[in-house]
Amino acid sequence: MKKNHRIGSRLFMGLVFLFLYAPILLLIIFSFNAGNSSVVWKGFSFRWYAELFQNRIIMSSVYTTLLVSLLATIIATVAGTFAAIGFFTMDRRLRRPLMVVNDIPMMNADIVTGVSLCLFFVAAFAGWNGFVTWMENSYRLTAPRLYLGFGTLLLAHISFNIPYVILNVTPKLRQMDKNLIDAAQDLGCTWMQAFWKVVVPEIKPGIISGALIAFTMSIDDFVISYFTAGSATSTLAMTIYGMTKKRVSPEINAISTLLFAAVLALLIIVNVREARQEKALAKKK
């Protein structure tokens, strides 16, 4: 009886994983298909990968994605780290509600974040563009009109990345002995020197994990990018979505496989780092 039970549960587990990963596996397999079909196997080939790198639209969207992810990660990491330190030095009565506010964007549905950011940008730009028109008509002064594009995409990515950085840096600040800052100042540091020489090395693991997670979030984001990038700018995820609307080309399989591999690699790095840190912490105790 017991043995049957175990077999049953293993079978169930197997089915769950099959349903979860079979589509991705299929996608990866057919990205190496020599033929045009996504259903019939015609032999192994790197053909679609080769074509991928010839495709200007895809390559330019890869470039956009990498650039926006990198810039958003750097800016969000700096801003998030300082924000975490700001929260940390705050009075508890003020910090608690602010931390809750910080958590909301992470739990909020992407579509809501995307639409609201889009509406915000459109409203703000409508106001600005109206002001520019009025200036031109009344004073013959001109200024650039603003539209959705790379800039708004970058702002959107920065804003949804900051909470993840704060979330990763805050526990490191809490673990830090507060006297360390006093000690550094006591030994001749200004507050800024103490920050760079003592606080940053102490919270560095948190900053790096925060940056890695932010980068991962940026790379694989579709919904928020879709609403904030405008018509001229396209990230990789948006390009793939656009391609599926016309004809499902096996190129999609290839580029999706690469995206999957990149995100998987990043997640592995984050997890290995976390496991190592926990080990080090356990050793200390």
């Binding site: 006297n179 006591d186 030994l187 200004t190």
Partner: protein, 390 residues
């Protein structure tokens, strides 16, 4: 020896509405070993933080070498600190921890940033490692050190900057008893050898008496008494000091004349004077100053209610007319026996009444009080007066 180095003038510190320091006046001499002693929450750590520059008094002034330094930040004061729990930098090894202060560029008279040459840093760090008996530990990681070794690194890290004053905030609180005794001697030796002023914060009265030139007893944000360890022990100013420093029986008395005090309706000769006739007073009698005699020869007669063997002596609790005394004696008097006692005039110390009168010095609840005194697992965190919430 007796040149004044630091002066606190009318210093008051308040967090929100809570007054942590109440009008402190204190001067500290050059090369002095001064201890701020008191229970947790008495304001001793706040006083130290004001001297270190980590807190600015709400009102009052602090002078260093005659110059007002209220607004001088910590990094510009010729003062270094050994922190509670050491606050060593975990990402640096022993050598780099000690070298930390030396590596910060200093501004010279012409306003130019000057970096110490590497050879000088190396030489001074190595010297310091020798002073604190940590030769050969320079490459060790902080987490690989025992509590006592971390303590020594913290002292070396502060002293290598050649400060005029070293502040020590309960530096031995986290060490076990044996190590604590060793480090007391060690600190005293280092202070003598380096010829600098030590300002030491502790709640441990034994530590304070053993190490200090001057003891400042504090309670409730006020200085209760300043004096040499002998003064503080032999001539406590009020019932709080008498109770906090060592063991004391504190009894209500009436001063009948200079040199005559009345306790339990019996007159005793004493050495104190200058009180008004028939003034109510607190009388301190130390447990070791009482001689046990046969009942019929005693000035006071009582019943033994408790005996504890303490190695060197017996601590016995004796009931005199309902008031319980602690007496230390080398002769065993069993529980229930009737004894008499004699007290020499120099064993009686008379104090003016204060708001502490009646709060201390009765050994009716002996066992609990004893545990409280010998509580080694005292948590120094409780002493983070005000300010910090976590």
């Amino acid at each position: 020896m007796s040149k004044e180095l630091i002066r606190l003038a009318n210093c008051t510190m308040a967090f929100d509405d809570e007054v942590v320091l109440d009008n402190i006046n204190l001067y500290i001499n050059d090369k002095e070993f001064l201890t701020l002693l008191g229970p947790s929450g008495c304001g001793k750590t706040t006083t130290l933080r004001i001297i270190g520059g980590f807190q600015t008094p709400t009102s009052g002034d602090i002078f260093f070498d005659g110059v007002r330094i209220n607004a001088v930040p910590p990094h510009k004061r010729a003062i270094n600190t050994v922190f509670q729990k050491y606050a060593l930098f975990p990402h640096l090894n022993v050598y780099e921890n000690i070298a930390f202060g030396l590596r910060i560029p200093k501004t010279d008279e012409k306003g130019k940033k000057v970096k110490l040459p590497e050879e000088e840093i190396h030489q001074r760090v190595m010297e310091m490692l020798e002073v604190v008996n940590l030769k050969g530990f320079d490459k060790r990681h902080i987490t690989q050190l025992s509590g006592g070794q971390q303590q020594r690194v913290a002292i070396a890290r502060a002293l290598v900057n050649k400060p005029k004053v070293l502040l020590l905030d309960e530096p031995l609180g986290a060490l076990d008893l044996k190590l604590r005794k060793d480090m007391q001697n060690e600190l005293k030796r280092i202070q003598k050898a380096m010829e600098i002023t030590f300002i030491y914060v502790t709640h441990d009265q034994e530590e304070a008496l053993a190490m200090s030139d001057t003891v400042v007893v504090m309670d409730a944000g006020k200085i209760q008494q300043i004096g040499t360890p002998e003064d503080i022990y032999n001539e406590p100013k009020n019932a709080f000091v008498a109770d906090f420093i060592g063991e004391s029986n504190i009894i209500d008395g009436i001063m009948r004349a200079d040199g005559v005090v009345e306790i339990f309706n019996r007159r005793f000769r004493c050495l104190d004077g200058g009180f008004e006739k028939d003034e109510p007073v607190d009388v301190v009698i130390r447990p070791e100053d009482v001689d046990i005699v046969p009942e019929d020869q005693g000035q006071l007669k009582g019943t033994v209610t408790n005996v504890t063997f303490k190695g060197m002596q017996y601590d016995i609790i004796v009931d005199f007319y309902g008031f319980k005394w602690l007496i230390q004696t080398t002769d065993l008097s069993p529980v229930g026996s009737r004894i008499g006692i004699k007290i020499d005039p120099d064993g009686i110390h008379v104090m003016k009444k204060s708001h502490y009168s009646g709060m201390f010095g009765d050994y009716s609840s002996y066992s609990e009080e004893y545990e409280e005194i010998s509580d080694a697992s005292f948590d120094p965190d409780e002493d983070q007066e005000g300010g910090d919430e976590e």
